[in-house]
């Protein structure tokens, strides 16, 4: 049985203009006991609303949420056995680091001495040993992030909710924290539900990614599946860069590019190819390089096919003989890599 079970969650907001907006429009989600699940989507897709419905700060109009079989919706937020890491960290500025971390134990009536050991342990888990006496104002952004994390795990919840906790950190620190969070989750053996709009973050950390759009779940799956086998056009475009082709039953684009499609699913359908699935070849799609973006080890080429249509994005290794703007190239691809979208 799954740890968390959300069924048929619906939440409709009144917009200021008097319209109605479904932040959640029939969401079903199961989260396993030790699973790292990421809710990914653009702003306004309902991911934060779903998280807040689980923590109790947002009500549902319809649907149920169960944690280990217990009905969460019947419990006030402060009685729910889940903890949250907030986007703004929401640390208590009038308390020391140690008192922040021990807050969940303090309000449960645990004595000072008993708290101390648990607080030290939590601080150690997030790599802040010895900083308990500091004031919150003395900490860097990264350290505050860790205090928020320690504070949320000190009561040993079975499920930790994280609301875009890394968005305020700079890129290097963010990447480091991504790895640490994943490691911490594995070590604690609890479930994480992580909200982000950063697809790279989602792919890096998750066991499963839930891609949301307009209050609905667009696709659920492991990162590789989400990236390699997007179900819809939206997922294909939202996750990484991609080339989309509208094909007919013969595998032809309106401009006349031809792809090998053994079993076309319909008279008209869409297929996608990642930039890395193309390679420079002796023959294939003929085109002219219009733009070269330098990415370090790789180059990102924009190639205008000679037959017309949208530019193609192609990843190429950077070397001395790499194409420059204006060069004529031919593009080949692995026929297996062409992925057909369902919608």
């Amino acid at each position: 049985m799954s740890l968390l079970s959300v069924r048929g969650a619906r939440r409709v907001f009144q917009t200021p203009e008097g319209g109605r907006l479904a932040a959640l429009d029939g969401v079903d989600l199961q989260v396993g006991a030790e699973e790292f699940v990421t809710l990914l989507g653009p702003s306004g897709c309902g991911k934060t609303t779903l998280l807040r419905a689980i923590s109790g700060f947002e009500a549902l109009d319809e649907g149920t949420i169960h944690l280990q079989g217990a009905d969460l919706l019947r419990l006030a937020p402060y009685r729910r056995p889940v903890n949250t890491v907030f986007q703004s960290y929401a640390l208590f500025g009038h308390m020391s680091v140690a008192r922040n971390v021990g807050y969940a134990l303090e309000v449960r009536g645990m004595g000072r001495a008993a708290r101390q050991a648990r607080v030290d342990e939590a601080l150690e888990k997030v790599g802040l040993s010895g900083l308990g006496a500091r004031a919150i104002g003395q900490l860097s952004g990264g350290q505050r992030q860790r205090v928020a994390l320690a504070r949320a795990i000190v009561a040993e919840p079975r499920l930790l909710l994280l609301d875009e906790p890394l968005s305020a950190l700079d890129r290097n620190l963010r990447q480091q924290m991504q790895l640490e969070l994943k490691a911490l989750q594995a070590r604690l053996g609890i479930a994480f539900v992580f909200v982000t709009h950063d697809q790279e973050e989602a792919l890096t950390m998750s066991d499963r990614v839930v891609v949301m759009r307009k209050g609905r779940i667009e696709q659920i799956g492991p990162p590789r599946e989400i990236y390699r086998k997007p179900r819809t056009r939206f997922v294909a475009e939202f996750i990484g860069e991609t080339n989309l082709f509208d094909l007919d039953a013969q595998g032809r684009t309106p401009e006349g590019l031809i792809f090998a499609v053994p079993n076309p699913p319909a008279a008209r359908f869409t297929a996608c190819l990642r930039p890395s699935d193309f390679h420079l070849a002796e023959q294939g799609i003929a085109g002219v390089v219009t733009k070269v973006v330098y990415l370090g080890a790789d180059l990102h080429l924009y190639v205008q096919p000679k037959v017309g249509g949208p530019e193609l994005r192609v990843t190429a290794r950077d070397h001395a003989a790499a194409p420059v703007v204006g060069a004529e190239v031919h593009l080949g691809h692995d026929p297996e890599a062409l992925h057909l979208l369902e919608a």
Binding site: F57, F86, S88, A90, L91, G93, V107, R108, A135, A155
Partner: protein, 272 residues
Amino acid sequence: MRSLLTLWSLAFFAFIYAPLAVIVAYSFNANPVNMMIWDGFTLDWYRGLFGAAVERPASDALYIENTDQLLAALRTSLTVAFFTTTIATVLGTSLAIALGRGRFVGQKALGGFLLLPMMMPDIVLGIGLLIFFLTLGMQLSLLTIIIGHCTFLISYVFVIVQARLAGLDPALEEASADLGASPFVTLRKVLIPQLAPGILGGALLAFVISMDDLVITYFIAGTDNTTLPVFIFGMIRRGVKPEINAIATLIILSSVVIAGLGLWLRARKTPA
């Protein structure tokens, strides 16, 4: 341009502080009849305030002989300010929290009504309170002064605490609830400590305004209870006496101390 700006700033501060400086200077002037003429340094007016016998010219017949009256007025003012500050701070803070965090019908309108007493001319409020008390058949007393002061000081505390509350991240209270604290525990352990600088600021302001109020108090004080401003006003009508400068100087001094205390407490407890 730069020196012009400097000059402007200096002129500005001179404009604001010159009257205060004059009062402080005159409070040490030995000339008892015409304070415009410097007659040498003296501490007599201060001594007089505190009951020491001071030699004075016979011409000065209308002198306040009774220092006890002055001290009684000061005591009345302090009593009123103490109770008013306590009541206004508790009620104003509760109102700010209720209007800022609760959810009920007419919330916005209520917030607007709370600002009204601050805008209201004192004289209107004073007459209104007087008629109100008389209609109820209440004797004018210490109690009516306290009630009268509270009616508008609640608004001051409310406004200051509300501003602080509006700047507070609502996620703080959510985090507290998320970590298992009931609404009451959240109020006690998170909300009130976070609002403390605002509550303190509101309380100090209420105290100072209550000590200072003349117009409203004049209507509702009755004859037995005279506050310091009302007493001073009465003195001035009988001619400006040098003691007034000494009283004013002491009031300035205590205001500076209170304001400084407020600023210091605020700087010390600035949450991240």
